[in-house]
């Protein structure tokens, strides 16, 4: 079992002091500690954005890739070595803008990876443009007045549910222990898991602050009457809830065979284990197909 110290990175985070990404980083590390995942057993694939720098700030296999493309890259890594835990960590611009299609197709596949989305409702790294989850009316340099952001914000959890995700959750960067628990469960879950994380950007988002979120969030499992995370209809409703009240917790979790489960080639060994050497006799047989 790794300790928090084992997971410490070579470099300290370059995020702004107070940024929600610090909480996400803590949660990821805590999840590894609590669920006994060693740094070499996990591959964290990230896109581009402030939060996507995360693997740089801890001790874990990382792959810091392209804006919006972490999910297909993670998918390929998982298909080639499904014995690794594979996780993506990226921002809302990355995942709900540029990468939205990949997210939904991953959900349809039920590929066994976990996506953590640092949703700060803004583009941090490029300095404060509006994002797919910005509230309608948000004024930024690319959504000037009078209208501000014209679009209706993306409802990522509802889209993922409709697409077929088998694990859909939301966390809050202010509560890394709670988030860690969700991340740990997502990593243990067999299938595609999406975790939307409310992640305050203290520099560019002066509306959706720690306080703003704190006033609104509630844990689904604590609601009166309890909560059944296998109830699709209930999950779909919760996934659309946004405003005065914002649900966090595991909104949905069910079992369905993963994409990998359907692939005869890798039922025993991973592709990486199968290696690169081919039996010549096998190839000679293949030649006969052309005769």
């Amino acid at each position: 079992m790794p300790s928090m110290k084992d997971l410490q990175g070579r470099d300290r985070p370059t995020w702004c002091p107070g940024c929600g990404d610090h909480g996400v980083l803590n949660a990821v590390k805590l999840a590894m500690v609590n669920y006994n995942i060693e740094p070499h057993q996990l591959l964290i694939v990230t896109g581009i954005g402030c939060g996507s720098k995360l693997p740089q700030y801890m001790w874990v296999n990382g792959l810091h890739t392209l804006h919006g493309r972490d999910i297909p890259i993670a998918t390929g890594a998982k298909l080639a070595n499904h014995k690794l835990y594979v996780m993506t960590v990226s921002g809302d611009g990355n995942t709900y803008g540029m990468g939205l299609s990949h997210l939904l197709h991953a959900a349809r596949r039920n590929i066994n990876i976990t996506s953590v989305v640092q949703n700060n409702q803004v583009y941090g790294l490029t300095k404060g443009q509006y994002s797919p989850t910005s509230e309608t009316g948000t004024v930024t340099k690319t959504s000037p007045p009078p209208a501000g952001a014209i679009e209706q914000p993306v409802r990522p959890l509802a889209l993922a549910l409709i697409a077929g995700a088998t694990f859909v959750a939301r966390g809050f960067a202010k509560d890394p222990r709670y988030l860690a628990d969700i991340i740990g469960k997502a990593l243990m879950h067999r299938g595609y898991a999406l975790i939307d994380v409310l992640q305050p950007c203290v520099t560019f988002n002066r509306v959706n602050t720690y306080d703003w979120y704190s006033e609104r969030v509630y844990k689904v499992e604590e609601q009166p009457g309890g909560y059944d995370p296998t109830d699709f209809a209930a999950a779909l409703e919760k996934a659309q809830e946004w405003g005065d009240r914002i649900p966090i917790g595991i909104l949905y979790q069910v079992e369905r065979p993963t994409y990998e489960d359907h692939l005869p080639a890798i039922q025993e060994h991973s592709l990486v284990e199968l290696g690169v050497h081919r039996d010549t006799a096998e190839l000679e047989r293949l030649k006969r197909e052309f005769m």
Partner: protein, 587 residues
């Protein structure tokens, strides 16, 4: 000449089943020990439109089609109209007796001395087989009859092809074939010059197209993962691999788009599987950003771009070599990509496995530039021509788990080395925990912006350009060294070019051909040397802008004086090249 040296052309509409009949027919002739070159010409639509297969048969190995057609199997009037000008006097048109054809056309046919061989194809199909679809069977059997090709070969193929669909299907087709064969034999064989005679003792040969050769080579080279989005003419590679995935231990993914395809392959490559992305130019355009990520993160990946005519959607089912310079510079910034352009089926097979060795050795993307002509043309090959004993697996500086176990000190993914190649470890080992980076970074993989880091890492990566150049093969020279004309081409142009040399050099040494297969890093010295002594230089390219000629000038300063260009969406024929050379010589 008349024996075992002729070309069939099967022409008709998409949906009439010409594609599969032609394949069966070619295979039957190959089984009789003859050599085949089977060219395909079809449209980007599912039904209707004029399509054809041009099957050259020869006792000797052939590397290309020829323009001349000896037997035209015309399933439509349009097939007659389009192709009779390719038939010399004495050649024949075989068609359903009830097919209406304008008088004017028949008159022209007659004027050329072409024979008309009407056969009751439909009648035989319907009355004997019970279904008009069997007209194809009838037609190919009739073609066999006309050329006195033994029926047993036709029978064998029918048994194999229709076997899956039940004995009734087999026997109906056999009956149809037999009737049509006999009709043609009895009515026309005597009056027809050309015959096909099995060659006793000929070895069993493969008949495969460039896509298949490449895909097979990839499997031989240890490809374990392929991801792609269907795009003509690259998708058959994806489909062939998908069809063989379970048996040969591959995972093959049809993705949501080409961006996902290359990204998945990069992910797979990063963790250590040999990963392939088959596509065509439009799909490759979408992969450009991720290509650069592979370059920056030093991830091996192989992209197969079966070129077709652009720009944009262009001519989806046709031939061009228009993506050469695009491949060399695609993506922002500067990094090593290796570009190979196989020209023959043998080279396609070899590129299949060699590309992975290069990708892993240099930890970088490799682009294999195929093209529609090579991808879709089938040729007979001795099994040994795809030389399995030559297949080597070279993974470069990949550290094995044992090597990592024994590692003293830290592992640094992007260690600065003299040749630019850093020892590589894949994720999963406790001693090799690191971050693969797309931002500029230091030798450890930490994001870095300092001048020293940038210079060190960029220089390291770019040193691989010179290191990899040493793996690049020099161009191949064909033809008599004393020939005054040096033709220069790349990719599949070599196939018709070799036939063109035969024609051009028949009387006296006239032309040589310089065939460039390894395109980038450009083997400049070898090319310059080969061109150094040439008297008349002619670029031969299936494009309009002479991209290889530009590259040669850029890298060697040598300007090829002439240019035989073709950008009509069709491949070169040997005759086209010959005409081009003669024009240059007589200008």
């Amino acid at each position: 000449m008349p024996k075992n040296d002729l070309t069939f052309l099967l022409g008709g509409e998409a949906g009439q089943g010409i594609e599969s009949s032609a394949t069966g027919f070619a295979k039957a002739i190959a089984h009789a020990g003859l050599h085949i070159f089977d060219l395909r010409d079809y449209r980007s639509r599912i039904r209707g439109g004029h399509n054809f297969a041009q099957i050259r048969v020869s006792a000797e190995p052939v590397t290309s089609h020829r323009e001349t057609v000896h037997v035209l199997l015309a399933m439509t009037e349009e097939a007659v109209r389009r192709h009779y000008p390719q038939i010399p006097a004495g050649g024949a048109i075989l068609y359903d007796e009830a097919m209406p054809v304008e008088d004017a056309i028949w008159e022209a046919v007659q004027a050329r001395g072409i024979q008309r061989f009407p056969v009751p194809l439909r009648k035989i199909a319907e009355e004997i087989g019970g279904a008009a679809v069997m007209m194809n069977t009838a037609a190919t059997a009739a073609a066999a009859g006309v050329t006195q090709f033994p029926f047993s070969y036709i029978e064998e193929i029918i048994r194999v092809n229709f076997g899956k669909r039940g004995e009734a299907m087999v026997s109906a087709n056999l009956k149809v074939a037999d009737a049509a064969y006999r009709y043609a034999l009895e009515h026309y064989a005597a009056g027809f010059d050309h015959t096909i005679e099995p060659i006793p003792g000929a070895p069993s040969r493969m008949l495969l197209n460039g896509n298949e050769a490449f895909a097979f080579g990839a499997v031989a080279g240890g490809c374990r993962f392929a991801a792609g989005y269907p795009m003509t003419p690259g998708s058959p590679v994806l489909e062939w691999l998908a069809g063989h995935a379970n048996q040969y231990g591959l995972v093959v993914k049809h993705t949501e788009d080409e961006i996902a395809a290359i990204c998945m392959a990069v992910g797979a490559g990063h963790v250590g599987a040999r990963a392939l992305v088959p596509t065509s130019g439009g799909g490759f355009s979408l992969m450009v950003e991720a290509l650069g990520f592979a370059g920056m993160s030093e991830t091996p990946v192989v992209i197969y771009n079966a070129q077709r005519p652009g720009p944009s959607t262009g001519l989806p089912t046709r031939q061009e070599q228009g993506d050469l310079l695009f491949s060399l510079w695609a993506s922002q910034g500067e990094f090593l990509r290796v570009v190979l352009a196989p020209g023959t089926h043998e080279e396609a097979f070899e590129a299949g496995w060699r590309s992975f060795n290069l990708a892993e050795t240099y930890q970088t993307p490799v682009i294999v530039l195929g093209d529609h002509f090579l991808a879709t043309s089938s040729r007979t090959l001795e099994p040994e021509a795809l030389d399995l004993s030559a297949v080597k697996v070279e993974r470069g500086k990949l550290l094995s788990p044992a090597e990592l176990d024994a590692l003293e000190g830290e592992y640094y993914r992007y260690a600065i080395t003299e040749d630019g190649v850093s020892p590589r470890a894949v994720p999963g080992h406790p001693k090799a925990v690191y971050v693969g980076e797309g931002n500029e970074h230091d030798y450890q993989g930490r994001i870095a912006e300092e001048i020293e880091d940038r210079v060190a890492l960029n220089a390291k990566r770019l040193r691989k350009l010179e290191t990899a150049r040493q793996s690049m093969r020099p161009p191949k020279r064909y033809g008599p060294a004393e020939a005054p004309v040096m033709l220069v081409g790349w990719g599949s142009t070599v196939m018709p070019a070799l036939e063109a040399l035969r024609i051009l050099n028949a009387e006296r040494p006239t032309a040589q051909y310089l065939h460039i297969t390894d395109v980038w890093p450009f083997p400049a010295e070898a090319v310059a040397q080969a061109l150094g002594e040439a008297r008349v230089t002619i670029a031969v390219e299936n494009n309009a802008l002479g991209q290889m000629a530009r590259l040669i000038r850029q890298e060697t300063g040598i300007r090829l004086e002439h240019f035989i260009s073709k950008y009509d969406g069709r491949p070169f024929s040997p005759e086209y090249i010959v005409r081009g050379v003669r024009e240059v010589l007589h200008a």
